[in-house]
Protein backbone atom coordinates (compact mmCIF):
# COMPACT_ATOMS: atom_id res chain seq x y z
CA UNK A 1 0.00 0.00 0.00
CA UNK A 2 2.80 2.39 0.95
CA UNK A 3 4.61 1.38 -2.23
CA UNK A 4 1.53 2.11 -4.32
CA UNK A 5 1.20 5.59 -2.81
CA UNK A 6 4.87 6.25 -3.44
CA UNK A 7 4.50 5.04 -7.03
CA UNK A 8 1.52 7.29 -7.72
CA UNK A 9 3.18 10.39 -6.25
CA UNK A 10 6.44 9.80 -8.14
CA UNK A 11 4.65 8.95 -11.37
CA UNK A 12 2.63 12.15 -11.20
CA UNK A 13 5.79 14.16 -10.54
CA UNK A 14 7.52 12.46 -13.48
CA UNK A 15 4.60 13.14 -15.82
CA UNK A 16 4.18 16.76 -14.73
CA UNK A 17 7.92 17.29 -15.17
CA UNK A 18 7.72 15.73 -18.65
CA UNK A 19 4.87 18.01 -19.64
CA UNK A 20 6.81 20.92 -18.16
CA UNK A 21 9.70 20.08 -20.46
CA UNK A 22 7.30 19.96 -23.39
CA UNK A 23 5.70 23.35 -22.75
CA UNK A 24 8.37 25.35 -20.89
CA UNK A 25 9.07 28.69 -22.61
CA UNK A 26 12.51 28.97 -21.07
CA UNK A 27 15.20 26.40 -21.85
CA UNK A 28 16.60 26.68 -18.31
CA UNK A 29 13.22 25.70 -16.90
CA UNK A 30 12.96 22.89 -19.46
CA UNK A 31 16.30 21.53 -18.26
CA UNK A 32 15.21 21.77 -14.63
CA UNK A 33 11.96 19.94 -15.39
CA UNK A 34 14.01 17.19 -16.99
CA UNK A 35 16.21 17.02 -13.89
CA UNK A 36 13.07 16.66 -11.76
CA UNK A 37 11.87 13.90 -14.07
CA UNK A 38 15.19 12.07 -13.70
CA UNK A 39 15.10 12.34 -9.92
CA UNK A 40 11.57 10.91 -9.94
CA UNK A 41 12.75 8.05 -12.14
CA UNK A 42 15.62 7.42 -9.72
CA UNK A 43 13.07 7.00 -6.93
CA UNK A 44 11.12 4.58 -9.12
CA UNK A 45 14.34 2.63 -9.72
CA UNK A 46 14.69 2.36 -5.95
CA UNK A 47 11.18 0.93 -5.65
CA UNK A 48 12.09 -1.59 -8.36
CA UNK A 49 15.08 -2.85 -6.36
CA UNK A 50 17.76 -1.12 -8.42
CA UNK A 51 19.63 1.13 -5.93
CA UNK A 52 22.84 1.01 -7.95
CA UNK A 53 21.09 2.27 -11.09
CA UNK A 54 19.22 4.91 -9.12
CA UNK A 55 22.50 6.36 -7.90
CA UNK A 56 24.11 6.12 -11.35
CA UNK A 57 21.05 7.81 -12.80
CA UNK A 58 21.45 10.76 -10.42
CA UNK A 59 25.23 10.98 -10.72
CA UNK A 60 25.47 10.72 -14.50
CA UNK A 61 22.19 12.15 -15.75
CA UNK A 62 21.23 14.73 -13.16
CA UNK A 63 24.75 15.50 -12.00
CA UNK A 64 26.76 15.57 -15.22
CA UNK A 65 24.63 15.48 -18.38
CA UNK A 66 22.05 18.04 -17.28
CA UNK A 67 24.67 20.36 -15.80
CA UNK A 68 26.33 20.28 -19.21
CA UNK A 69 22.99 21.16 -20.81
CA UNK A 70 22.48 24.07 -18.42
CA UNK A 71 26.04 25.18 -19.04
CA UNK A 72 25.51 25.29 -22.80
CA UNK A 73 22.11 27.00 -22.51
CA UNK A 74 23.59 29.73 -20.32
CA UNK A 75 26.78 30.04 -22.35
CA UNK A 76 24.93 30.50 -25.65
CA UNK A 77 22.25 32.71 -24.10
CA UNK A 78 19.70 30.41 -25.73
CA UNK A 79 17.13 30.55 -22.95
CA UNK A 80 14.16 31.77 -24.95
CA UNK A 81 13.31 31.33 -28.58
CA UNK A 82 10.24 32.42 -30.48
CA UNK A 83 8.55 29.10 -31.16
CA UNK A 84 5.50 30.19 -33.11
CA UNK A 85 5.39 30.64 -36.87
CA UNK A 86 8.39 29.36 -38.74
CA UNK A 87 8.56 27.98 -42.25
CA UNK A 88 5.98 25.23 -41.65
CA UNK A 89 3.02 26.85 -39.91
CA UNK A 90 0.98 23.68 -39.39
CA UNK A 91 3.85 21.76 -37.86
CA UNK A 92 3.08 22.50 -34.23
CA UNK A 93 -0.63 21.56 -34.13
CA UNK A 94 0.18 18.45 -36.14
CA UNK A 95 2.97 17.57 -33.71
CA UNK A 96 0.57 17.76 -30.76
CA UNK A 97 -2.00 15.69 -32.64
CA UNK A 98 0.54 13.02 -33.56
CA UNK A 99 1.81 12.96 -30.00
CA UNK A 100 -1.71 12.39 -28.76
CA UNK A 101 -2.25 9.60 -31.31
CA UNK A 102 0.98 7.93 -30.21
CA UNK A 103 -0.06 8.17 -26.56
CA UNK A 104 -3.42 6.57 -27.25
CA UNK A 105 -1.82 3.83 -29.36
CA UNK A 106 0.79 2.97 -26.75
CA UNK A 107 -1.79 3.04 -23.97
CA UNK A 108 -4.08 0.74 -25.92
CA UNK A 109 -1.29 -1.74 -26.66
CA UNK A 110 -0.24 -1.83 -23.01
CA UNK A 111 -3.81 -2.28 -21.84
CA UNK A 112 -4.21 -5.25 -24.15
CA UNK A 113 -0.78 -6.84 -23.80
CA UNK A 114 0.83 -5.91 -20.50
CA UNK A 115 -1.96 -6.12 -17.94
CA UNK A 116 -1.41 -9.89 -17.79
CA UNK A 117 2.05 -9.34 -16.32
CA UNK A 118 0.59 -9.29 -12.84
CA UNK A 119 2.15 -8.00 -9.66
CA UNK A 120 5.85 -7.66 -9.11
CA UNK A 121 7.19 -10.52 -7.07
CA UNK A 122 9.42 -9.86 -4.09
CA UNK A 123 13.01 -9.92 -5.34
CA UNK A 124 15.35 -12.83 -4.60
CA UNK A 125 18.07 -12.46 -1.99
CA UNK A 126 20.63 -9.72 -2.86
CA UNK A 127 18.91 -9.03 -6.16
CA UNK A 128 20.85 -6.30 -7.97
CA UNK A 129 23.49 -5.99 -5.26
CA UNK A 130 26.45 -4.02 -6.67
CA UNK A 131 28.68 -7.10 -6.49
CA UNK A 132 26.21 -9.16 -8.50
CA UNK A 133 25.90 -6.48 -11.16
CA UNK A 134 29.69 -6.25 -11.31
CA UNK A 135 30.05 -10.02 -11.80
CA UNK A 136 27.66 -9.94 -14.71
CA UNK A 137 29.19 -6.78 -16.18
CA UNK A 138 32.78 -7.99 -16.11
CA UNK A 139 32.11 -11.55 -17.18
CA UNK A 140 29.18 -11.97 -19.52
CA UNK A 141 29.06 -8.39 -20.76
CA UNK A 142 32.78 -7.64 -20.81
CA UNK A 143 32.88 -6.96 -24.55
CA UNK A 144 30.00 -4.42 -24.53
CA UNK A 145 31.69 -2.82 -21.53
CA UNK A 146 34.97 -2.41 -23.44
CA UNK A 147 33.10 -1.12 -26.49
CA UNK A 148 31.33 1.43 -24.30
CA UNK A 149 34.67 2.65 -22.99
CA UNK A 150 35.99 3.04 -26.55
CA UNK A 151 32.79 4.87 -27.45
CA UNK A 152 33.30 7.30 -24.61
CA UNK A 153 36.87 7.94 -25.73
CA UNK A 154 35.72 8.55 -29.32
CA UNK A 155 32.99 10.91 -28.11
CA UNK A 156 35.49 12.83 -26.01
CA UNK A 157 37.90 13.26 -28.90
CA UNK A 158 35.07 14.22 -31.26
CA UNK A 159 33.76 16.87 -28.89
CA UNK A 160 37.25 18.29 -28.37
CA UNK A 161 37.95 18.40 -32.11
CA UNK A 162 34.67 20.16 -32.86
CA UNK A 163 34.65 22.76 -30.09
CA UNK A 164 38.33 23.23 -29.45
CA UNK A 165 39.56 23.40 -33.07
CA UNK A 166 39.82 27.20 -33.09
CA UNK A 167 42.88 28.49 -31.30
CA UNK A 168 40.91 31.14 -29.40
CA UNK A 169 39.29 28.69 -27.01
CA UNK A 170 36.01 30.32 -26.02
CA UNK A 171 35.74 28.70 -22.56
CA UNK A 172 35.12 25.29 -24.04
CA UNK A 173 32.07 23.36 -22.91
CA UNK A 174 34.12 20.63 -21.33
Amino acid sequence: MALMTLFIITAVIALVAGLGLLFARNAVYAALFLVLNMLALAVLFLTLGAPFLAMVQITVYAGAVMVLFLFVVMLLGAETLKEEGGPIAWQRPLALLLGLVLTVLLAAVIFIEATGLGNILPPPEDYAAPSRLAMLLFQRYLLPFEIASVLLLVAMIAALVMVGSKKKTSSSSR
Binding site: P51, I58, A129
Partner: protein
Protein backbone atom coordinates in the same frame (compact mmCIF):
# COMPACT_ATOMS: atom_id res chain seq x y z
CA UNK B 1 6.23 -1.70 9.57
CA UNK B 2 6.97 -1.39 13.26
CA UNK B 3 6.07 2.13 14.34
CA UNK B 4 8.84 2.30 16.95
CA UNK B 5 11.33 1.82 14.13
CA UNK B 6 9.82 4.78 12.28
CA UNK B 7 10.02 6.80 15.48
CA UNK B 8 13.66 5.81 15.97
CA UNK B 9 14.54 6.87 12.41
CA UNK B 10 12.71 10.17 12.75
CA UNK B 11 14.45 10.99 16.02
CA UNK B 12 17.84 10.07 14.61
CA UNK B 13 17.28 12.17 11.48
CA UNK B 14 16.12 15.14 13.54
CA UNK B 15 19.09 14.77 15.86
CA UNK B 16 21.48 14.64 12.89
CA UNK B 17 19.96 17.81 11.42
CA UNK B 18 20.21 19.53 14.81
CA UNK B 19 23.87 18.52 15.16
CA UNK B 20 24.66 19.71 11.65
CA UNK B 21 22.98 23.07 12.14
CA UNK B 22 24.57 23.83 15.52
CA UNK B 23 27.82 22.44 14.14
CA UNK B 24 27.56 24.89 11.27
CA UNK B 25 27.02 27.81 13.63
CA UNK B 26 30.06 26.98 15.71
CA UNK B 27 32.19 26.23 12.66
CA UNK B 28 31.79 29.87 11.64
CA UNK B 29 32.95 30.93 15.10
CA UNK B 30 35.83 28.43 14.96
CA UNK B 31 36.89 29.82 11.60
CA UNK B 32 36.85 33.42 12.78
CA UNK B 33 38.73 32.57 15.95
CA UNK B 34 41.37 30.38 14.30
CA UNK B 35 42.00 32.80 11.45
CA UNK B 36 42.26 35.60 14.00
CA UNK B 37 44.84 33.71 16.06
CA UNK B 38 46.85 32.88 12.96
CA UNK B 39 46.91 36.57 12.11
CA UNK B 40 47.68 37.52 15.75
CA UNK B 41 44.30 39.13 16.27
CA UNK B 42 41.78 38.27 18.98
CA UNK B 43 38.65 37.55 16.96
CA UNK B 44 35.06 37.91 18.14
CA UNK B 45 35.03 38.18 21.94
CA UNK B 46 32.16 40.50 22.84
CA UNK B 47 29.03 38.31 22.53
CA UNK B 48 29.15 35.99 25.53
CA UNK B 49 32.28 34.45 27.10
CA UNK B 50 35.00 33.92 24.44
CA UNK B 51 32.47 35.09 21.85
CA UNK B 52 30.45 31.91 22.24
CA UNK B 53 27.16 33.70 21.48
CA UNK B 54 28.55 35.29 18.31
CA UNK B 55 26.84 32.80 15.90
CA UNK B 56 23.50 33.63 17.55
CA UNK B 57 24.12 37.33 17.11
CA UNK B 58 25.06 36.76 13.46
CA UNK B 59 21.90 34.77 12.90
CA UNK B 60 19.68 37.44 14.42
CA UNK B 61 21.40 40.11 12.34
CA UNK B 62 20.84 38.13 9.12
CA UNK B 63 17.17 37.47 9.91
CA UNK B 64 16.49 41.19 10.31
CA UNK B 65 18.33 42.18 7.14
CA UNK B 66 16.25 43.38 4.20
CA UNK B 67 15.32 40.67 1.71
CA UNK B 68 16.04 42.05 -1.73
CA UNK B 69 15.20 40.59 -5.13
CA UNK B 70 16.73 42.37 -8.15
CA UNK B 71 14.23 43.86 -10.60
CA UNK B 72 14.87 41.60 -13.59
CA UNK B 73 15.83 38.50 -11.69
CA UNK B 74 13.97 35.24 -12.28
CA UNK B 75 11.98 35.29 -9.04
CA UNK B 76 11.13 31.59 -8.77
CA UNK B 77 14.65 30.34 -9.35
CA UNK B 78 16.14 33.20 -7.33
CA UNK B 79 14.26 31.96 -4.27
CA UNK B 80 14.70 28.29 -5.12
CA UNK B 81 18.48 28.43 -5.61
CA UNK B 82 19.53 28.83 -1.95
CA UNK B 83 17.19 26.00 -0.97
CA UNK B 84 18.60 23.76 -3.70
CA UNK B 85 22.08 24.55 -2.36
CA UNK B 86 21.18 23.79 1.22
CA UNK B 87 19.31 20.48 0.84
CA UNK B 88 22.20 18.34 -0.53
CA UNK B 89 24.49 19.70 2.19
CA UNK B 90 22.07 18.44 4.83
CA UNK B 91 21.19 15.03 3.41
CA UNK B 92 24.67 13.92 2.36
CA UNK B 93 25.52 12.96 5.96
CA UNK B 94 22.74 10.36 6.11
CA UNK B 95 25.02 7.44 5.24
CA UNK B 96 27.95 8.36 7.48
CA UNK B 97 28.06 6.02 10.50
CA UNK B 98 28.62 7.55 13.95
CA UNK B 99 29.25 4.31 15.78
CA UNK B 100 28.11 0.71 15.99
CA UNK B 101 25.18 0.27 18.30
CA UNK B 102 24.27 1.13 21.87
CA UNK B 103 21.58 0.01 24.27
CA UNK B 104 19.21 2.85 25.05
CA UNK B 105 16.07 2.40 27.21
CA UNK B 106 16.46 -1.36 26.83
CA UNK B 107 16.51 -1.10 23.07
CA UNK B 108 19.40 -1.71 20.70
CA UNK B 109 19.87 1.51 18.77
CA UNK B 110 22.28 1.67 15.86
CA UNK B 111 24.36 4.82 15.71
CA UNK B 112 23.88 5.35 12.00
CA UNK B 113 20.94 6.62 10.02
CA UNK B 114 21.18 4.32 7.02
CA UNK B 115 23.57 1.53 6.11
CA UNK B 116 22.89 1.14 2.41
CA UNK B 117 24.98 -1.08 0.19
CA UNK B 118 25.51 1.81 -2.24
CA UNK B 119 26.54 4.34 0.43
CA UNK B 120 29.52 5.77 -1.46
CA UNK B 121 27.49 6.09 -4.64
CA UNK B 122 24.86 7.97 -2.64
CA UNK B 123 27.50 10.43 -1.51
CA UNK B 124 28.76 10.90 -5.06
CA UNK B 125 25.21 11.35 -6.38
CA UNK B 126 24.37 14.01 -3.80
CA UNK B 127 27.72 15.73 -4.33
CA UNK B 128 27.10 15.85 -8.07
CA UNK B 129 23.71 17.54 -7.78
CA UNK B 130 24.97 20.18 -5.35
CA UNK B 131 26.21 22.16 -8.38
CA UNK B 132 22.68 23.22 -9.28
CA UNK B 133 22.15 25.71 -6.49
CA UNK B 134 25.25 27.66 -7.42
CA UNK B 135 24.58 27.64 -11.18
CA UNK B 136 20.93 28.60 -10.75
CA UNK B 137 21.76 31.37 -8.29
CA UNK B 138 24.21 32.80 -10.80
CA UNK B 139 21.75 32.63 -13.66
CA UNK B 140 18.63 33.80 -11.81
CA UNK B 141 20.33 36.92 -10.44
CA UNK B 142 20.46 38.41 -13.95
CA UNK B 143 23.87 39.88 -13.25
CA UNK B 144 26.94 39.19 -15.34
CA UNK B 145 29.24 38.75 -12.34
CA UNK B 146 26.83 36.28 -10.82
CA UNK B 147 26.48 34.37 -14.07
CA UNK B 148 30.25 34.18 -14.50
CA UNK B 149 30.58 32.99 -10.92
CA UNK B 150 27.92 30.34 -11.50
CA UNK B 151 29.52 29.09 -14.72
CA UNK B 152 32.95 29.01 -13.12
CA UNK B 153 31.53 27.08 -10.20
CA UNK B 154 29.94 24.48 -12.43
CA UNK B 155 33.12 24.04 -14.48
CA UNK B 156 35.20 23.76 -11.31
CA UNK B 157 32.91 21.30 -9.58
CA UNK B 158 32.55 19.04 -12.62
CA UNK B 159 36.32 19.05 -13.14
CA UNK B 160 37.19 18.23 -9.56
CA UNK B 161 34.44 15.65 -9.22
CA UNK B 162 36.44 13.30 -11.46
CA UNK B 163 39.51 13.29 -9.27
CA UNK B 164 37.31 13.16 -6.19
CA UNK B 165 35.48 10.12 -7.54
CA UNK B 166 38.80 8.41 -8.21
CA UNK B 167 39.92 9.22 -4.66
CA UNK B 168 36.82 7.43 -3.39
CA UNK B 169 37.90 4.24 -5.13
CA UNK B 170 40.96 2.99 -3.15
CA UNK B 171 39.05 2.58 0.16
CA UNK B 172 36.26 0.80 -1.74
CA UNK B 173 38.82 -1.52 -3.33
CA UNK B 174 40.58 -2.20 -0.03
CA UNK B 175 37.36 -2.86 1.90
CA UNK B 176 35.55 -4.59 -0.96
CA UNK B 177 32.29 -2.81 -0.19
CA UNK B 178 30.38 0.33 -1.11
CA UNK B 179 28.91 0.66 2.37
CA UNK B 180 30.62 3.27 4.54
CA UNK B 181 30.09 1.13 7.62
CA UNK B 182 31.96 -1.80 6.08
CA UNK B 183 34.75 0.56 5.04
CA UNK B 184 35.09 1.92 8.57
CA UNK B 185 35.00 -1.58 10.10
CA UNK B 186 37.69 -2.73 7.65
CA UNK B 187 40.02 -0.12 9.13
CA UNK B 188 40.15 -1.74 12.57
CA UNK B 189 43.71 -2.99 12.01
CA UNK B 190 45.04 0.08 10.22
CA UNK B 191 43.68 3.39 8.95
CA UNK B 192 43.59 3.66 5.18
CA UNK B 193 45.51 6.92 5.22
CA UNK B 194 48.58 4.78 5.92
CA UNK B 195 48.04 2.53 2.90
CA UNK B 196 46.77 5.31 0.66
CA UNK B 197 48.49 8.60 1.53
CA UNK B 198 48.29 9.84 -2.07
CA UNK B 199 44.59 9.13 -2.42
CA UNK B 200 43.93 10.78 0.94
CA UNK B 201 45.88 13.85 -0.17
CA UNK B 202 43.97 14.04 -3.48
CA UNK B 203 40.69 13.61 -1.63
CA UNK B 204 41.54 16.48 0.71
CA UNK B 205 42.45 18.88 -2.09
CA UNK B 206 39.55 18.02 -4.38
CA UNK B 207 37.02 18.11 -1.56
CA UNK B 208 38.16 21.62 -0.63
CA UNK B 209 37.63 22.57 -4.28
CA UNK B 210 34.27 20.81 -4.26
CA UNK B 211 32.96 22.98 -1.43
CA UNK B 212 34.45 26.09 -3.09
CA UNK B 213 36.65 26.97 -0.15
CA UNK B 214 39.83 29.03 -0.28
CA UNK B 215 42.24 28.63 -2.05
CA UNK B 216 39.73 27.31 -4.60
CA UNK B 217 37.00 29.91 -3.98
CA UNK B 218 37.18 31.29 -7.51
CA UNK B 219 33.39 31.22 -8.01
CA UNK B 220 33.09 33.83 -5.29
CA UNK B 221 36.31 35.78 -5.79
CA UNK B 222 35.61 39.23 -4.32
CA UNK B 223 38.20 41.12 -6.32
CA UNK B 224 37.18 39.99 -9.80
CA UNK B 225 33.57 38.83 -9.44
CA UNK B 226 32.34 40.92 -6.48
CA UNK B 227 31.38 37.73 -4.60
CA UNK B 228 30.26 35.73 -7.65
CA UNK B 229 27.02 33.82 -7.63
CA UNK B 230 25.68 35.27 -4.39
CA UNK B 231 26.37 38.92 -5.21
CA UNK B 232 22.66 39.76 -5.34
CA UNK B 233 21.64 37.79 -2.28
CA UNK B 234 20.96 39.28 1.13
CA UNK B 235 19.40 38.39 4.47
CA UNK B 236 18.33 34.80 5.08
CA UNK B 237 18.79 33.78 1.45
CA UNK B 238 22.45 34.71 1.72
CA UNK B 239 22.59 32.96 5.07
CA UNK B 240 21.46 29.74 3.37
CA UNK B 241 24.44 29.84 0.99
CA UNK B 242 26.67 30.51 3.95
CA UNK B 243 25.13 27.62 5.88
CA UNK B 244 25.49 25.29 2.93
CA UNK B 245 29.20 26.03 2.67
CA UNK B 246 29.92 25.31 6.32
CA UNK B 247 27.61 22.30 6.49
CA UNK B 248 29.43 20.89 3.47
CA UNK B 249 32.73 21.46 5.24
CA UNK B 250 31.47 19.35 8.15
CA UNK B 251 30.13 16.68 5.79
CA UNK B 252 33.35 16.51 3.80
CA UNK B 253 35.39 16.20 7.00
CA UNK B 254 33.12 13.40 8.21
CA UNK B 255 33.40 11.54 4.92
CA UNK B 256 37.17 11.96 4.84
CA UNK B 257 37.39 10.71 8.43
CA UNK B 258 35.26 7.67 7.58
CA UNK B 259 37.17 6.79 4.42
CA UNK B 260 40.74 7.38 5.55
CA UNK B 261 40.93 8.07 9.29
CA UNK B 262 38.93 5.13 10.60
CA UNK B 263 35.68 7.02 11.19
CA UNK B 264 34.30 6.27 14.62
CA UNK B 265 37.13 3.86 15.51
CA UNK B 266 39.55 4.63 18.31
CA UNK B 267 41.03 3.18 21.48
CA UNK B 268 38.48 1.37 23.74
CA UNK B 269 35.71 1.93 21.20
CA UNK B 270 34.91 -1.81 21.11
CA UNK B 271 34.18 -1.83 24.87
CA UNK B 272 32.40 1.51 25.02
CA UNK B 273 30.43 2.13 21.80
CA UNK B 274 29.46 5.57 23.09
CA UNK B 275 33.01 6.71 22.37
CA UNK B 276 32.39 6.29 18.61
CA UNK B 277 30.57 9.58 18.02
CA UNK B 278 33.16 11.40 20.11
CA UNK B 279 36.04 10.00 18.04
CA UNK B 280 34.27 10.93 14.82
CA UNK B 281 33.59 14.43 16.13
CA UNK B 282 37.26 14.83 17.02
CA UNK B 283 38.27 13.75 13.52
CA UNK B 284 35.74 16.12 11.96
CA UNK B 285 37.25 18.90 14.05
CA UNK B 286 40.68 18.04 12.64
CA UNK B 287 39.33 18.27 9.10
CA UNK B 288 37.66 21.61 9.79
CA UNK B 289 40.85 22.97 11.33
CA UNK B 290 42.80 21.86 8.26
CA UNK B 291 40.44 23.71 5.90
CA UNK B 292 40.56 26.88 7.99
CA UNK B 293 44.34 26.62 8.13
CA UNK B 294 44.42 26.36 4.33
CA UNK B 295 42.30 29.48 4.02
CA UNK B 296 44.54 31.44 6.35
CA UNK B 297 47.68 30.33 4.53
CA UNK B 298 47.21 30.16 0.77
CA UNK B 299 46.35 32.85 -1.77
CA UNK B 300 43.61 32.12 -4.28
CA UNK B 301 44.45 30.17 -7.43
CA UNK B 302 44.00 31.79 -10.82
CA UNK B 303 41.23 30.20 -12.90
CA UNK B 304 43.53 28.57 -15.48
CA UNK B 305 45.88 27.37 -12.73
CA UNK B 306 42.93 25.78 -10.98
CA UNK B 307 41.80 23.95 -14.11
CA UNK B 308 45.36 22.87 -14.93
CA UNK B 309 45.87 21.56 -11.40
CA UNK B 310 42.66 19.57 -11.55
CA UNK B 311 42.95 18.12 -15.03
CA UNK B 312 46.70 17.84 -15.59
CA UNK B 313 47.96 16.91 -12.13
CA UNK B 314 45.34 15.58 -9.75
CA UNK B 315 43.29 13.59 -12.26
CA UNK B 316 46.20 11.60 -13.79
CA UNK B 317 47.71 11.08 -10.33
CA UNK B 318 44.43 9.71 -8.99
CA UNK B 319 44.05 7.48 -12.03
CA UNK B 320 47.58 6.15 -11.62
CA UNK B 321 46.96 5.56 -7.94
CA UNK B 322 43.86 3.49 -8.71
CA UNK B 323 45.80 1.40 -11.25
CA UNK B 324 48.68 0.79 -8.83
CA UNK B 325 46.28 -0.08 -6.01
CA UNK B 326 44.42 -2.52 -8.22
CA UNK B 327 47.70 -4.10 -9.33
CA UNK B 328 48.98 -4.50 -5.77
CA UNK B 329 45.65 -5.89 -4.60
CA UNK B 330 45.63 -8.41 -7.46
CA UNK B 331 49.18 -9.50 -6.63
CA UNK B 332 48.93 -9.60 -2.84
CA UNK B 333 45.45 -11.04 -2.59
Amino acid sequence: MDWTLWLEWTIKAALLLFILLTGFAYTTLLERKVVAWMQTRIGPNRAGPWGLLQPLADGIKLIFKEEFIPAHADKVLFILAPVVTMVPALIIMAVVPWGREVVLFGRRVTLYLADVNVGILYIMAIASISVYGVVLAGWASNNKYSLLGGLRASAQMISYELALGLAFLPPIMLAGSLSLRDIVEAQRSMWYVVYQPLAAFIFLITSVAEVNRAPFDIPEAEQELTAGYHTEYSGMKFALFFMAEYTKMIAVSAIFASLYLGGYLGPFESQFPWLGPLYLAAKIFLGLFFMIWLRATFPRFRYDQLMALGWKNLFPLALLNVVVTAGVLALVG
